[in-house]
């Protein structure tokens, strides 16, 4: 059973959609279940720090996948990118009052998609990428390829969909 909070974020997802001209784009997919998440971020500089000014998500997945994506955008908004990349799957599931054990991988996916967006932002600006973000990036790329989806897929428009 899902918590009320999960159902709330599933039925009324926060920050759903896609930012125009984003500063960073992240895609994460789970090769086992096939869920795919895309996160776009806008970054603002203040006092020499990078803050996540706005963040939106798009997800194809189960209720847990949608709720964790929605929650990770809430947790990340307003944080510095350094703090945002420290958001763990436990943080996300705790904020949702817990997830069924079998759905914990969904919160992983949400954290990965956010990290990918931050990675994208940092690499575009030639910022020094911390080692653990680099290794997580490699792992996420590999797993996402396992779903058969690539960045390009998510970007490619498919016409006349309902």
């Amino acid at each position: 059973m899902y918590s009320e909070k999960v159902i709330d974020h599933f039925t009324n997802p926060r920050n759903a959609g896609e930012l125009k001209n984003p500063d960073g784009v992240g895609l994460a997919g789970n090769p086992v279940c096939g869920d795919v998440m895309k996160i776009t971020i806008k970054v603002r500089k203040e006092n020499c720090k990078d803050f996540i000014d706005d963040v939106k998500f798009k997800t194809m997945g189960c209720a847990a996948a949608i709720a964790t994506s929605s929650m990770v955008t809430e947790l990340a908004k307003g944080k510095t990118i350094n703090d945002a990349m420290k958001i763990t799957r436990i943080d996300i599931s705790d904020a949702l009052c817990g997830l069924p054990q079998v759905k914990m991988h969904c919160s992983n996916l949400a954290a990965d998609a956010l990290n990918e967006a931050i990675y994208d932002y940092m690499s575009k600006r030639n910022l020094t990428i911390p080692d653990d973000l680099e290794s997580r990036h490699k792992k996420t790329i590999k797993e996402t390829e396992g779903t058969g989806h690539k960045h390009d897929d998510a970007d490619a428009p498919v016409d006349e969909c309902g």
């Binding site: 039925t11 189960c62 989806h149």
Partner: protein, 389 residues
């Protein structure tokens, strides 16, 4: 919870018909004795007669003789008796080879896998894009060591109905025994053992508004089935254990209550649902054959969205349906049937199964389609796949 519930998962379980309940009731409260021999006391004899009478009704519906049908606890047990019973009887005599289709339901599939661990060899037949087994592969696979072929009559998820007449003919010609799982076709489609050369047929009560926990197995005379449920000598000494008398009575009543008109109505609902969804909702794919499918089953993939999300949204609006999505299953594995027909993860991911029953109406069809239009649109809006806003 919504005020009205439209239950569209009749392949999983059905609502009991009150008339079935009425038929069963005396066997809980009045004639509750164990079924005895004709030399026993009156209550026991009456119980015996009830089981015999129920057996006659069901055997008759299959075109079989009464002593060719045993009651079981359901399809799972029937499938186990068929596969393991023949394996036990012939494994050390004729050979250790068994053939099943790769889209069988779990009782047959898992029985085959369990036998593999015991040293049997299993061929898993491929199916085409609609779910039909490869008959050439079947013919080529049967050897002198093959003791059993088990191919379902119709599929539990996509509803595709196999040509079991032809499969039976091939098996007979090649002198191997043939079991078919008719859980989703018994009473819904004609099955006559005089025409279909099946040696064993699995049937179940709970797919036709009968009681749960009751099923049966037709076993043609001379079919070698070893007894492995040991105890008493019930069910022609093939399956030990006190007879479930109310269950047997309920199963027979459920069979009697199914009419050709009802099956025609189910087919109309199925066809309307398929036509409406494919017409009104873009990016949808029908799973299974368009016409050679059970009258009660529609299975459709809604691309770019996920099945558990769909079922949850539908549930909030009062519709009960099931999905082949990995996210829905406890094992986190997507449907082996959709993958079996060549579908990728995504096709299984967004697949929904609608199965109709006695208590559904055309209103259910129209309302679920209109709910789906809405739900699919909103889930696609937040999906990274497909068209942008």
């Amino acid at each position: 919870m919504p005020e009205k519930t439209s239950y569209l998962d009749n392949a999983a379980a059905t609502r009991l018909d009150e008339r079935v309940m009425d038929a069963m009731k005396p066997y809980f409260f009045d004639i509750y004795a164990v079924a005895t021999s004709e030399f026993g006391y009156s209550l026991g004899i009456e119980a015996r007669e009830a089981v015999d009478n129920s057996r006659n009704i069901i055997a008759n519906a299959l075109g079989a003789d009464s002593d060719e049908f045993i009651f079981t606890s359901g399809s799972t047990e029937s499938g186990n008796i068929a596969l393991k019973g023949v394996a036990l009887a012939l494994g050390n005599k004729k050979g250790k080879h068994i053939i099943v289709s790769k889209i069988e339901d779990f009782p047959v599939l898992q029985s085959a896998k369990a036998l593999e661990k015991q040293g049997f060899f299993v061929t898993y037949l491929n199916v085409d894009k609609d779910g039909f087994v490869d008959l050439e592969q079947l013919k080529e696979s049967i050897t002198g060591e093959t003791i059993l072929v088990s191919v379902q009559h119709a599929n539990q998820e996509i509803g595709t109905v196999q040509d079991i007449e032809e499969i039976g003919r091939i098996c007979r010609e090649k002198k191997t025994f043939f079991h078919t799982d008719a859980t989703h076709t018994f009473a819904r489609l004609p099955i006559d053992v005089k025409k279909i050369q099946a040696d064993m047929i699995t049937v179940s009560a709970n797919t036709i508004h009968g009681p749960k926990g009751v099923g049966g197995l037709y076993i043609r005379k001379e079919t070698p089935v070893a007894k492995w449920m040991d105890g008493g000598f019930q069910e022609f000494n093939l399956r030990a254990g006190q007879e479930n008398i109310p269950g047997a009575v309920g199963f027979a009543k459920a069979v009697e209550l199914v009419t050709p008109e009802e099956n025609a109505k189910l087919k109309d609902m199925r066809d309307r649902l398929i036509d409406l969804v494919l017409e009104k909702i873009p990016h949808t794919t029908l799973n299974g054959h368009r016409t050679k499918r059970t009258p009660q089953n529609a299975n459709i993939t809604f691309h770019f969205v996920e099945g558990e999300s769909l079922t949850l949204h539908l549930d909030m609006r009062g519709f009960s349906v099931s999905t082949g999505s990995a996210c829905f299953s406890r094992s986190l594995e997507s449907s082996h049937v959709i993958r079996g027909i060549g579908g990728d993860h995504e096709r299984a991911h967004g697949s929904l199964r609608f199965t109709f029953g006695r208590y559904n109406s055309m209103d259910d069809v129209d309302s679920v389609v209109s709910a789906l239009e809405d739900i699919v649109r909103s889930l696609r809006k937040i999906s990274p796949l497909g068209k942008k806003d």
